[in-house]
């Protein structure tokens, strides 16, 4: 079998399939499916749901609806906040046999700074020196942001650059920046993030959409708008990864509608070193593991190497 392991900055992954932030609660899975989930996770690195500084109730229900070829959600970064994460979740997550990527979200640069600082302290305490090989950070820069006047920090190249510079100064571990696709030029934002010191780019987050209640003809979601994900957005996500691969040297974590091994091949061909399973994991919580196996078979069958596949779509036939 092909060796699927991959180095993502200081993290070593057994294979290139991980989960998308906010779409897999691994301890819940273990409760339902048994301890093997924690012993042999389906993902090669576990990405946490986005952690915010304060506890957040999230958006009023309903929060999800299926759409043509996908789904929309308006969870709204609900969660118990940083303190609970550090005390209750972090120690358990560090017990997983795979690296951890902690997704964080702030409503200002200051908030990101505080969270990153606290996480670094906690990791040093819990793991010691070697924590850098165990855990990385993913900046979710799609949260609404009052300061910049933008919809979010991630929709402004300058704000993005400033944020990443600030965090880069204090955070010595893997620094992933997860981009929002609700921009005119995602490659420009990616470039800003990488010049400011990001080690890797995750693309993409959800696309802002709205669904209408069939009966009342009012917005269906409690939050009015939500984020579109799933196969419906795959062509849009592939385009973003393709453009980013041309724009930045840093490795790309590709996602958006991945549901089959063909999707994995497509994302890698467009330039993703690592891929993440999001909403398609809702219908099969073990999908990431299945895809890793299938990827090995597919590479074999096609006589392709990982290096040969990476960015193939950019090279002439």
């Amino acid at each position: 079998m092909v060796d699927l392991s991959v180095q993502l900055g200081p993290l070593r992954l057994d294979h290139p399939v991980i989960n998308a932030s906010g779409t897999m609660e691994i301890f819940e899975l273990a409760e339902t499916f048994g301890p093997h989930v924690l012993e042999r996770p389906p993902v090669a690195a576990y990405v946490s749901k986005t952690v915010t500084l304060k506890p957040r109730a999230g958006n009023p229900p309903p929060r999800i609806l299926e759409t043509a070829g996908g789904m929309i959600n308006a969870i709204g970064l609900s969660g118990p906040g940083l303190d609970v994460f550090v005390k209750e979740d972090l120690p358990r997550l560090l017990g997983l046999p795979c690296p951890l990527i902690i997704s964080i979200g702030g409503f200002s640069t200051g908030e990101y700074e505080v969270i990153a600082g606290r996480l670094q302290e906690a990791l040093e305490q819990l793991v010691g020196e070697g924590w850098i090989e165990r855990a990385g950070l993913e900046l979710n820069i799609s949260c609404p942001n009052v300061h910049s006047g933008c919809a979010s920090i991630g929709s402004d190249t300058h704000e993005t650059g400033e944020l990443v510079k600030t965090i880069r100064k204090r955070w010595p571990g893997l620094l992933v920046v997860k981009l929002t696709p609700n921009v005119a030029d995602i490659a420009a934002v990616g470039r800003a993030a990488v010049s400011a010191g990001a080690d890797a780019i995750a693309a993409v987050n959800t696309y802002k959409g709205l669904v209408v209640d069939r009966v009342s003809l009012r917005p269906y979601l409690g939050n009015i708008t939500g984020g579109l994900s799933g196969p419906a957005i795959k062509p849009l996500a592939l385009r973003s990864v393709y453009e980013l691969f041309d724009a930045v040297e840093a490795p790309i974590i590709g996602m958006g509608g991945i549901a089959t091994v063909e999707d994995v091949l497509e994302f890698m061909s467009c330039g993703a070193l690592v891929v993440a399973v999001g909403s398609a994991g809702f219908r099969d919580p073990g999908l990431a593991g299945v895809l890793a196996h299938q990827l090995a078979v597919a590479l074999d069958t096609r006589g392709l190497t990982r290096a040969g596949l990476l960015g193939l779509a950019h090279r002439p036939v």
Binding site: G22, P42, K49, R63, R283, D284, P285, V290
Partner: protein, 299 residues
């Protein structure tokens, strides 16, 4: 090497430990609902009130749909499904031999012991498609009751009087056709009677065409006694009405199986969150779908 063992290895790449591929044994209409019997290799026994995520093998939908386990015999699992939208219509249209994806059993079901070990009666209240989880509940209540009480007089925890547990099944349907969805439940009730439960089924039909126009809540008002233990499943307005009837009698405890939109069914997506009476959040898929009435509607 193209032999069986190799095929099995190939298969292993495609199967996950989380989702099973079932095969439809039988699909028979029960009124407007379909009773889908599925052979699910790897199925672990369900608690009554638990559900599974089902998706037709040839589904046009992106996500699977939550469906209560209606009955099970080993790996032969029955579901009662009302065709309300695209996902359930696909499931209702499956034929014998068709494939169906199954994740489950999921969630927390009914507290069988609390229903069986009780001084009052056990009352099951179901509206429309809410009948689905109750065949399994009734079967498990009968089994548990037998395990606890079918011993020589005086040896069981509740003594001889407990061995005559009375179960009242109150069902509400819009019309006579819809009411045929109670077929499986009646079969199970008959078996339960044979095995020692005193089981009575009453049906309220709302259209009044072949009898009085009644709602299941009318039946409940007529029959509910203090001390009763109640298991409820049905549309939200019905559930709310049932709760206020229960709350008006002393010493009644009621459990409700709730329904919300779900994406993952396992606690991953946070899409099914509801706010409980005390202001805390709960996920219907993980912390439920069965909740105590007080927790949902308040004391």
């Amino acid at each position: 090497m193209k032999d069986g063992s190799n095929d099995t290895i190939e298969e292993a790449h495609w199967a996950s430990d989380y989702r099973m591929l079932g095969s439809v044994l039988n699909n028979e209409p029960q009124g407007l609902m379909a009773r889908l019997e599925v052979e699910v290799p790897g199925w672990r026994s369900a608690e009554p009130g638990q559900f599974a995520l089902l998706q037709a093998g040839s589904s046009r939908c992106f996500l699977a749909r939550a469906v209560s386990v209606a009955d099970e015999v080993g790996a032969r699992v029955s579901f009662l499904i009302a065709p309300v939208g695209e996902g359930t219509r696909e499931l209702c249209a499956l034929n014998g031999g068709d494939m169906v994806w199954v994740v489950g059993p999921l969630g927390r079901g009914f507290d069988v012991d609390a229903l069986v070990i009780s001084r009052g009666r056990a009352v099951i209240v179901a509206g429309g498609a809410g009948v689905a989880p109750f065949p399994l509940l009734l079967a498990r209540m009968a089994r548990r009751h037998r395990a606890l009480f079918s011993r020589p007089v005086g040896e069981g925890p509740g003594g001889p009087q407990a061995s005559t547990l009375e179960v009242l099944v109150l069902l509400g349907f819009r019309d006579a056709l819809q009411a045929e969805a109670s077929t499986l439940l009646r079969e199970v009730a008959a078996l339960a009677c044979e095995s020692g439960l005193r089981c009575r089924v009453e049906v309220a039909i709302e259209d009044g065409l072949r009898g009085p126009a009644e709602k299941v809540t009318d039946l409940l008002i007529r029959h509910l006694r203090s001390g009763d233990r109640v298991a409820v499943c049905g549309p939200t307005p019905m559930a709310e009405a049932v709760w206020s009837i229960c709350a008006s009698k002393p010493d009644v405890r009621a459990w409700f199986s709730l329904e919300t939109g779900m994406a993952c069914g396992v606690g991953s997506c946070h899409g099914c969150l509801i706010t409980l009476a005390d202001g805390s959040d709960a996920r219907v898929c993980k912390d439920g779908p069965v909740f105590l009435g007080e927790a949902v509607f308040g004391g």
